[in-house]
Amino acid sequence: MTAPTREQVAQHPADDEIEPFSTWTGRARRWMLTKLPPDKLLPESQPSYVASWIYVFGMGAIASLAVVIASGLVLSLNGPSWWHVSGLGHFVNSTHLWSVEFFFLFMVVHLWGKFWMAAWRGGRVLTWITGVLSFAVGIAAAFTGYLLQSNFESQWISFEAKDALNAAGIGAWFNVANLGQMFTWHIVLLPLGVAAIVAFHVILVRMHGVVPPLDAAESDSQLAHVKEASE
């Protein structure tokens, strides 16, 4: 039900009593298991206050991201011209576009919800920061995608975007008119970035737990008596 305390982890007969950790690996494992023991990482329960539809949007964003990556994989494996000449290719391109729209749709609703719940409370500030970071990196990833469409939009967007990047001094290294460069950013670096930040974000949520209600008090019935959720 609730996460084991540090004492409980230390009392686990397997490791600490048999030998003190002397290796980096051992110490890292102990640290990881203390911060995020398996039943906290993959729980079978959650606090009773997690009972609102607002909570499904984070999951929705991740599910959409999975579809984005899968459809993107198919598109990139077939090369950038495929979708112009193949009906199936065009359909996969459509799935890529719509999964991206849903990704941002769910993520924005998730952000709104988390703001109004002040979800950074109780030391969850890094969760908030990584969330905004996934939004920002996601925007960059989506932007580079448009450059790979190899159609009029790619031409126009690269022509316009170059100005902001050149003004910021990075236009030569992030050359939006260079298809080869943009391919690397869009199908390798930025997806890895988004995935890594999102994974870290989810791990933080699992570590800290879902933020309790504002003004929750020890006298609340949900805390005063630990009981099963009733019908």
Binding site: S45, S48, A51, S52, W53, I54, V56, F57, E101, L105, V108, V109, W112, G113, E228, A229, S230, E231
Partner: protein, 54 residues
């Protein structure tokens, strides 16, 4: 497409809604409207009660 609110412009099938300098293309408007609608619904729709744990 069905004009909603103030139809600001219609360029060969593409619909733009808006007021003066602020125009929004129909697709974007629908996506943003969907965000707002889903947010409100998520707040007001009742959530199923939890399962009793055996």
């Amino acid at each position: 497409m069905v004009p909603l609110l103030a139809l600001a412009a219609q360029d060969g099938g593409t619909v733009y809604l808006g007021w003066g300098a602020f125009t929004i293309q129909l697709g974007n408007f629908l996506v943003i409207a969907a965000m707002v609608v889903l947010f409100v619904l998520a707040l007001v729709l009742p959530f199923p009660k939890g399962r009793k744990r055996s």
